[in-house]
Symmetry: C2
Subunit: 429 residues, 2 copies
């Protein structure tokens, strides 16, 4: 019997407990391992309600749980980074194996923690840290060892995807959908991390280290959120055959790595364009396997609990034989991050301008000055505060030039307010 | 160093060899294991061309390879069932671990072979037997151990999916697309196994044993192919908001198991409806994780080789520590297969009838006699051999009643030729 200690009985903690309780015999039949929760650390005693207390040592401080000899695997589900860091390092010092769903901690201190685990002959399982119930860590690590992965797209944040899907489907503005999502529990009271792309960037950080084996840091990921996405852009996207998604994008080619989380347009025909609502997905291309896509619920008590349990079972199977998996073996080598003048993409641009002669020629003149060619233009009569929207799709241009051109255009007297631009992520199938 | 012996240098054999040769150091960096091809058995000496012969023992008979002490893992890629069975059992007798892509053999004799492997303390890896490059075996077995899986949909045959996609997209008839697919190498010279659903049934057989842990046999899977799918049905499907796919369908509820491979309609909004061309996908629902979908290339040298290599690497990691995975632990328990009078679905039906008064009332009368309610009817003026097509979507009815009603309707004097019917697989999201 392998003893499990759960620190934190929040959403994921309760889900994990419930799966281990409900499916104890199913897991034994399937895998031959017997895993049992022997201790739970949680300060809020109300959360103990409804649990079968039989054989479980309930404690208020995590240290007691970690030090308990019956606990073989420590499951850290408190979130945040300070306490979680202390708990995990303490567990590793005691040579206990660790399972965590803590993407923020792994993004910030993953290198250090995995190094410590390796030195201690221990493991840190983190399937639950990325895409909740989708076994994407296993798929990449164990399913594709014979592949060099050079391209990865992710829809990694359920809240953002829910909001964008709802805006597109029902024609509701961002604020209205966010409020409704908060009422329904699909968005946190403070949704900043979700809607500003930080949560997705944490997950992309982990995926890049695993898939590219490149030790990227959070500040190297260009991160933009969805709070400025307007209905008009969703409409134009549809008109051009695209959808707008908060995409996590990672590419490696010729020693140059690019990593971004931002609202971007993707062709309706791409499988990622049809990932809607609270669903998450990862699309990647391996040099041997070609494209692979994994799809499922990215959050929630049971889906994330399912991922935690998959780590527990995997570890329990191997604890008896002493087979230890290594963590990240990421190293930069001679690779480096792409600069803005090397990052090339097609772009969607929307300007607000007074409807008068010469406007279009002035704008396209500035774009030409920066080597940006226009693939198509739409100018609608639809007026907003005396301005008409002018929309352009560009051919490939550098991010840097686009930013410079935008600055000049926004300063024109007949242009009102900040222009909008968005990457068009070319469908690589 | 773990020595690999490859039996059979066909499409998958060459892909496997190439990945191990190209990515030897990548695999070592990622996983710490050193795997090397030490022997290849292949009668056709022309297939040795272009291989780096260094350190490889080329032999003509598989027995010599199996008996070679340097071979730790035997990779069986000859296909067929007789020889492959002999090679695998011989390898297991020698206590060697086995990797195979042979779905037919596992569907027919999986129980026996996995039992033998377990008794010998060996393993049989079979990631490559289902859905080529998609790590679906790993996802189900290692990613979802804490889930009871009760629903599974598969698009498991690339040839059939390519043909149906092409028919739908380009309005070409079955025969024309098949011939073109054969010219392009997407279909075999003798495509029977692919287009008649047998290949998909082999794979579904393996998936059901793994996901439901139910020891299903091939004759328990209702198997129909796509050779009778007509363009007119693809058109009607689209009109009603569906697509036609060769779906592998498996369900378990209340101790009743249902397993089918057949062309069926699925809502355009379902993620499986957008799996096109040679791509494969598996969609399943776990009681904890909810829906999961895995998508990628189901066949081909490199994708399938990628799956073979994932098994080799996984085994190589564990050979040193003595940790052996168990195979299928499937057992019927008190579960049984659903009968035709228990199998309930909505159906699409198409009749060819003379356009005269009373036809519709006669047909719908017979359906009513068998408790089949009609949800919608379309009768088009479009004529074919003096007949008009009458299309109906039914509410839920039993398969048995539908068959009986169809027989009576087909015997009516004003009905020309066999009617067409197809399941509507309700979108479970």
């Amino acid at each position: 019997m392998i003893g499990i200690g759960i620190i934190g009985l929040g959403t994921v903690g309760r889900g994990t407990y419930a799966i281990l309780a409900d499916h104890n015999s199913l897991i034994r039949e399937k895998t031959g391992v017997d895993v049992k929760v022997v201790s739970i650390a949680e300060i809020d005693r109300q959360r103990y309600q409804g649990l079968d207390a039989d054989g479980i040592d309930f404690v208020e401080d995590a240290e007691t749980l970690i030090d308990n000899d019956k606990v073989d695997i420590v499951v850290e589900l408190v979130g945040g980074t300070d306490k979680a860091y202390r708990y995990i390092t303490r567990a590793l010092q005691k040579k206990k194996w660790v399972v965590t769903a803590n993407k923020a901690l792994l993004a910030e201190k993953g290198e250090e923690l995995f190094g410590m685990a390796e030195r201690q002959g221990c493991e840190i399982g983190f399937e639950a840290a990325v895409c909740g119930g989708i076994p994407v860590i296993r798929a990449i690590r164990e399913g594709l060892p014979g592949n060099r992965i050079g391209y990865l797209l992710g829809i990694l944040n359920g809240t953002s995807n829910y909001i964008l899907s709802k805006m597109a489907d029902e024609g509701l503005a961002f604020d209205a959908v966010l409020m409704e999502a908060q009422r329904q529990g699909f968005a946190e009271k403070d949704p900043t991390f979700d809607i500003e792309g930080v949560d997705a960037a944490h997950k992309l950080c982990i995926l890049i280290r695993l898939a590219f084996r490149f030790p990227i840091t959070m500040d190297e990921i260009v991160t933009r959120g969805i709070s400025k996405v307007e209905l008009i852009d969703l409409d134009f996207a549809r008109e051009f055959g695209y959808r707008i998604k908060l995409l996590a994008i990672a590419k490696e080619e010729g020693g140059l790595v690019e990593a971004r989380v931002e609202p971007a347009m993707i062709s309706m025909n791409h499988p990622m364009a049809n990932v809607n609502g609270v669903y998450n997905a990862v699309y990647l291309i391996g040099d041997k396997v070609g494209p692979n896509l994994y799809y499922g619920k990215g959050a929630g008590s049971d889906p994330t609990g399912s991922a935690v349990v998959s780590d527990i079972v995997d570890m329990a199977m191997r604890r008896t034989t002493g087979h230890v998996r290594t963590g990240f073996s990421a190293h930069r080598g001679d690779r480096r991050m792409k600069r803005g003048d090397e990052s090339i993409s097609r772009f969607y641009m929307r300007f607000k301008a007074h409807d008068r002669p010469g406007v279009l020629s002035k704008i396209s003149g500035i774009l030409a000055d920066y080597d940006i060619s226009i693939a198509s233009v739409v100018q609608k009569e639809r007026k907003e505060d005396d301005y008409v929207p002018i929309v352009m799709l560009t051919y490939e241009a550098t991010e840097e030039n686009l930013g410079l051109a935008k600055e000049k255009i926004d300063a024109l007297p007949f242009v009102g307010g900040e222009s909008v631009y968005m990457r068009i992520e070319e469908s690589r199938l």
